[in-house]
């Protein structure tokens, strides 16, 4: 591992040294199923000839709060203090005015933090070790940890963005709503920026079967079955995407992390898998699928989302009702009301999807308001497929709560909006998943869709003091996470129609402090999400704002964690401090998130463009029909081309609102990518009829096609109770069970297939290929089954 002092980044194009004020960011800590306790080391180095003030902006992970920081350098070490934000800012400014090294960590809206370190002396290296707590994305069979190494640009209707230097863009948000937050400069090329890395320990009560990362190459070292060390495989990496780590348990069972504090009080975090709450009902679904077609979704995300929606629709029956809405700056609904999941409507929905192109901004509120209107105030769910790259999320959350609908979120992105989407789902009674763009969005959508609208449990209550309150609904695949205090007695859980008792075993380690801090971070995140900026609050009661601010102060004091109401500050008084000397302020740049086109957000400044008054009128070719009100103002190329000849204005205009796909990506699709097993299963799922069977010319052909499809799903590990396609398998089985009128011989084949589905396995053979071939497969199936 290289030291900060020896790290000398170079600009690739010129080979010249780049003057980086922040040189290194290194993540260490422990990741548990209940959350993570992390230390982020930031190494700052001044190459200036005068004192330096550095501002580093980063987004908080989900359910996160800052606990403290330690600032170290040659001959000093100082710890931060937690103060009300106004006092902390004052202390920081007084320290700066005195010429003392000062540091301030302050949270703003959307979970953005500014870490400001001022009066770093020329040639001095200063390290800030920042401790924070954060949550993880829980699954029944494991968990996903996500840590942001970059801050993605985000859409806001009043944001301003432009290229301000070669390969560098800036985004400005309205000060009235976002305060004095300073965003990073966004560099098109992240390779010249500070180095990042990580070394983490993942710990669980259950044996960890697998640990891996879809985002980074990692080294994994077992410390026994329940503890694994994970580190970046390379010496260093660049800040252009989140770190994502996945841990999978060997078994599925409740976990209770419990310990006693110094006063002897018991604190626990319980992770209860959804399978503990029973099996889902077969009640008809009422679901609206809401597709984000904003420019940032262009490319693989939207094409996978289309396929995913097709497959989700394939599982609907005629008793289910669905809606389909696409949004960017504008909203398009497939139908003005919910429609039954018949073949006709699903085919029409497919045709609607084929015309969806990524474009425009992310007006999420308009989208879910339109989706909610389709539910007409009755029970139902909304499944959102989005990258969630929006600013002003507290206002969106307020609107979502008042809409009174359950939102389930499938997030797609390489830089984290995970915090927002997790809140959006949780605050409305739904669940969320977040993927990198290089994972399969379609499979995750099908998996999530299978749990939507059919909660396993409602009205969950705990017999002990639990904060925050247990979720209103429990969905298949998503465990319940509870934080609370308890004595020696088991934790009793009750819900409508069920109950569960969780034994508590207190650990000797410092787990009590960790789970208590994680609880505090979660509560602070929940309350911060109700704390919009002054602008956004204007129509609401002032006293409500005060109530939220007061609650945040209480929580910060109780748990000794920072929030928007309280910040962390440290001032290091040293000999030689020079009062009144003005430090030079530098903002740390970040790289554009992987798979995010720089031109999608930042438009180059053009020079010497003709003004409208200078246009030659003779060049115009008039046509009233060219005036169409779409997301993009319509521009007649024929009209503008003569006067803009030689400029690149058209491409710039298009890129302002849309992302271009890399040529290699586009050509790969054109050439036809290799079809994977999952692709074939998705195709099968999308062909299913509303009654759960496969299509065919008559009952006999439908029966054998359904048997083959069922065996194809089973052969890939999907059963009626497990796997992404569990709903599809269940419906295929249900169709086969309903079949009558077949010959006795063929009825036996059907019965054998049903029996195999109960066992959860298919006989040996290439069932996938067979499922893809048209024709009468009765004899082939009989032959294979008789050999089994």
């Amino acid at each position: 591992m290289s030291t900060a002092a020896s790290f000398t980044p170079l600009v690739a194009a010129t080979g010249e040294a780049l003057n980086l004020s922040m040189q290194r960011l290194w993540l260490t800590g422990q990741v548990l199923p209940a959350g993570a306790r992390l230390t982020v080391q930031h190494v700052f180095r001044s190459e200036e000839s005068q004192p330096l003030e550095v501002i580093y902006s980063f987004p908080l992970p989900r359910d996160a709060a800052l606990r403290s920081f330690r600032i170290t350098g040659e001959g000093f070490e100082t710890h931060s203090e937690l103060k009300e934000t106004e006092e902390a800012v004052k202390a920081y400014e007084e320290g700066i005015a005195r010429g003392s090294l000062s540091a301030l960590a302050r949270s703003y809206g959307d979970g953005v933090v500014n870490l400001t370190v001022g009066n770093i002396r020329p040639k001095e290296t200063v390290t800030v070790h920042l401790e924070l707590l954060c949550g993880v994305e829980l699954h029944d069979d494991g968990f996903r940890f996500r840590f942001p190494f970059t801050l993605a640009p985000a859409y806001h209707p009043r944001a301003k963005a432009a290229v301000t230097a070669s390969g560098e863009g800036e985004l400005e948000l309205p000060a009235g709503e976002f305060g004095d937050v300073i965003l990073p400069r966004f560099r098109e090329d992240a390779s010249v920026l500070h180095q990042i890395g990580f070394e983490l320990t993942m710990v669980s009560q259950l044996v960890l079967d697998e640990v891996g990362s879809p985002s980074h190459a990692v080294r994994v070292k077992q410390n026994g079955g329940r503890s694994v060390r994970v580190a970046l495989a390379a010496e260093k990496d660049v800040p252009n995407r989140d770190l994502v780590l996945d841990a999978r348990f060997q078994s599925v069972a409740p976990q209770v992390l419990a310990g006693r504090d110094k006063s002897g009080n018991g604190h626990f975090a319980a992770v209860v898998p959804s399978s503990s709450f029973g099996v889902p009902s077969e009640a008809p679904q009422r679901v609206v699928i809401l597709l984000d077609r904003s420019g940032s979704m262009q490319g693989e995300p939207i094409s996978q989302a289309r396929k995913a929606i097709d497959a989700c629709l394939g599982v609907l029956s005629e008793k289910d009702f669905f809606g389909l809405v696409a949004f960017d700056n504008e909203v398009s609904a497939f139908q003005p009301k919910l429609v039954p999941g018949t073949r006709e409507f699903r085919d029409r929905a497919h045709a609607f999807l084929t015309h969806i192109e990524a474009r425009g901004g992310t007006e999420l509120v308009q989208g879910f308001v339109a989706a909610a209107s389709l539910l007409e105030g009755a029970d139902g769910d909304i499944l959102i497929l989005t990258d969630g790259q929006v600013a002003g999320t507290e206002k969106i959350l307020a609107d979502a709560r008042s809409a009174g609908v359950r939102l389930h979120c499938l997030g797609i992105g390489s830089a984290s909006q995970d915090r927002f989407l997790a809140l959006l789902a949780r605050e409305t009674g739904g669940v969320s998943r977040f993927l990198t763009p290089r994972e399969r969005v379609d499979l995750a959508a099908v998996d999530l869709f299978a749990s939507v609208g059919r909660p396993l449990a409602c009205g969950l209550k705990a017999g002990v003091n639990v904060q925050p309150e247990p979720p209103s609904f429990v969905y298949r695949g998503t465990p319940v996470l509870l934080f609370g205090e308890t004595g020696d007695a088991p934790i009793e859980l009750n819900w409508q129609g069920g109950q569960l008792s969780l034994p508590v075993a207190f650990s000797e380690s410092d787990i009590a402090e960790t789970v208590r801090l994680l609880q505090g971070a979660r509560l602070i995140t929940d309350w911060e999400s109700r704390y919009p900026s002054a602008d956004a609050w204007a129509p609401l009661e002032k006293r409500q704002q005060n109530r939220v601010a007061q609650r945040l102060l209480e929580l910060s004091r109780t748990y000794q964690l920072a929030s928007r109401a309280m910040s962390l500050v440290a001032v290091v008084k040293r000999a030689g401090d020079s009062p009144g000397e003005l430090p030079k302020t530098r903002v740390v740049p970040v790289g554009m998130a992987q798979d995010t086109a720089f031109g999608a957000y930042f438009q180059p400044v053009t020079q010497g463009m003709p003004s409208p008054g200078a246009l030659p009128s003779a060049a115009f070719t008039m046509n009233p029909a060219t005036m169409t009100m779409t997301a993009m103002p319509t521009v007649s190329r024929a009209v503008l081309a003569p006067m803009l000849e030689g400029s690149q204005i058209f491409s710039r205009i298009r890129e302002q609102f849309s992302r271009r796909r890399p040529p290699a990506e586009a050509s790969a699709e054109a050439a036809g990518q290799a079809e994977t097993a999952e692709d074939m299963l998705l195709a099968l799922a999308s062909r299913m009829d509303a009654d759960g069977g496969m299509p065919g010319r008559d009952r006999e052909s439908r029966a054998i096609s359904t048997v083959v499809a069922l065996l194809a799903f089973l052969s890939q590990g999907h059963t009626a109770t497990s796997g992404v396609f569990r709903s599809h398998v269940a419906r295929l089985v249900s169709f086969l069970k309903s079949l009558t009128g077949l010959s006795a011989h063929r009825q036996e084949v059907v019965a054998a297939a049903i029996e195999l589905s109960n066992k959860g396995a298919a006989p040996t053979g290439d069932w996938m290929t067979l499922a893809g071939k048209p024709g009468d497969h009765w004899k082939e199936v009989e032959r294979r089954l008789s050999r089994a």
């Binding site: 800012v89 944001a159 432009a162 009062p579 005036m627 103002p633």
Partner: protein, 132 residues
Amino acid sequence: MSNSRTLAELSEESGIPARTIRFYIARGLLDGPVKSGRSAVYSTEHLARLEKIKQLQGEGRMLTEIANHLAGVPAERTAPSPWWQHIIQNDVMVWVRGDLSPWRTKQIRAAIDEFASRLREPESPESRRNRQ
């Protein structure tokens, strides 16, 4: 009003946080203090410049544009200035700056839509009366 103030006083008077003022100085939007070191002071000109920056921000300009504007660089050389054309009728065309915020663009487009509708449809006697 005194012509000599500390950064804290300048911040208080302008309503702009001290950190932001230092950021503006580093960006070249604002001159540094009149004197440096222990007796660093800011003048009434600094306060006036901050007010000007606030005003220009309120008009929708980015800091980069403001820096150029305050440095006296001609607007046509600095402003990103693509223009959209909306042909509404054979004899009517509207031009709109293409680098506005999506929010402002949306507002203008709504107005153009309304304008286009009025030109497309013959005026009803009722609307004529209302207009009069």
